[in-house]
Subunit: 215 residues, 2 copies
């Protein structure tokens, strides 16, 4: 199991720390806010109040001994950058840092942070496709490959996936289906599509967009 240092316990940092604990990993949480530290003390392996922009603080926390570190400081961009810089100097290699903007993200990468994430931006892109009604969910896998949830077109009713030849006719893969109750089952060639079924479909972005636009 992994031993992870999570600095900054805002909405994002808390979610990471809790999910790591749920999956059996060890987490040291750090925040400058006394109230947050008290709240999270009962949930994490350990939780301390400290300002991670001070080198002496990082040395005292023995940051080198962790498998990875997360810098989830948001609004205070200077604190985020100072903390990332000090972690790197103390020999922490596997760093994940939350970024507020393109320039912030660029600086973190230039420092040598391996993984820079834009949580609000990524979720904003995902939700935009749902708000516009294009699909029920939209998750880019890479620049040009995407997975979506979409209602099955009426022309599919009563037919099996094998009959519909979806891969050869539309160039996309049906990964799973659901009867609209939120429970997904893996898709098989003999799966019969009924009216109102929801399909999880993956493929190249252009082909998936065309598929979602069918009736």
């Amino acid at each position: 199991h992994a031993n992870v240092l999570v600095i900054g316990l805002g909405r994002f940092g808390k979610a990471i720390a809790r999910e790591l604990m749920k999956n059996g990993h060890e987490v040291l949480g750090v925040d400058t806010d006394e109230q947050i530290v008290q709240q999270m003390s009962a949930e994490l392996t350990q939780c301390v109040k400290a300002d991670t922009t001070q080198d002496a603080v990082l040395k005292e926390l023995s940051v080198k001994d962790f498998d990875s570190a997360v810098v989830a400081i948001g609004a205070d961009v200077e604190a985020s950058i100072l903390t990332a810089s000090l972690l790197l100097q103390n020999g922490v290699e596997n760093i994940w840092a939350k970024s507020n903007s393109e320039p912030h993200g660029r600086i973190l990468r230039q420092l040598g942070v391996k993984h820079v994430v834009f949580p609000e931006k990524d979720m904003g892109n995902r939700v935009a496709h749902m708000v516009s009604g294009e699909s029920l969910d939209y998750v880019p896998i890479d620049e040009d490959f995407v997975m979506v949830k979409a209602e099955s077109p009426d022309s599919f009713n009563g037919k099996s996936l094998a009959d519909l030849k979806i891969r050869s006719n539309h160039g996309v893969t049906v990964v799973a289906t659901s009867k609209g109750d939120g429970q997904y089952q893996p898709a098989f060639p003999e799966t019969i599509i009924q009216k109102g079924d929801v399909l999880v479909v993956a493929g190249q972005t252009q082909q998936v967009d065309k598929f979602c636009a069918i009736g």
Copy 2:
């Protein structure tokens, strides 16, 4: 195309508004911060400075005429709840609201908001699986169905997906593969797996977790 009202142009609201514009929809952005409104005016169909907790403001913006509305106000929970309540009273049905916490989300749902999202929490859960090294990416599709990116096990080298019988042996579906360059191709039975390939795999959570744990 959709006509969407986006209230609150922080990191999340901006990302939604920009993605909607990119996909050819119309967006009216609203924020109380003059600087943000000026910055976004050039990018959105229209952008106005206004405080959406005032009913007269919403009537002036003719909110009823929009296909959907997004409430992306974060820190100010009272403003988020007041705005959602007024939108509902003005007859806006399709509302998406960002929530800061479980209690905030519960109040929004009790008011009648159809879609409540927790952007930082969802991304935090996703990133936690990457930080711990369990997988290269981890996207829950529902309570018990997940899609992950994982490095292919060494025992798969040189074999085709048909030979490996992954669905019958492991109960998961290989959706796409990549040579590690970030470009994903749809998976076919005759696809041959090489050392270092990355697989996009979907299936029930327990089976996918077991699959990721193979050598």
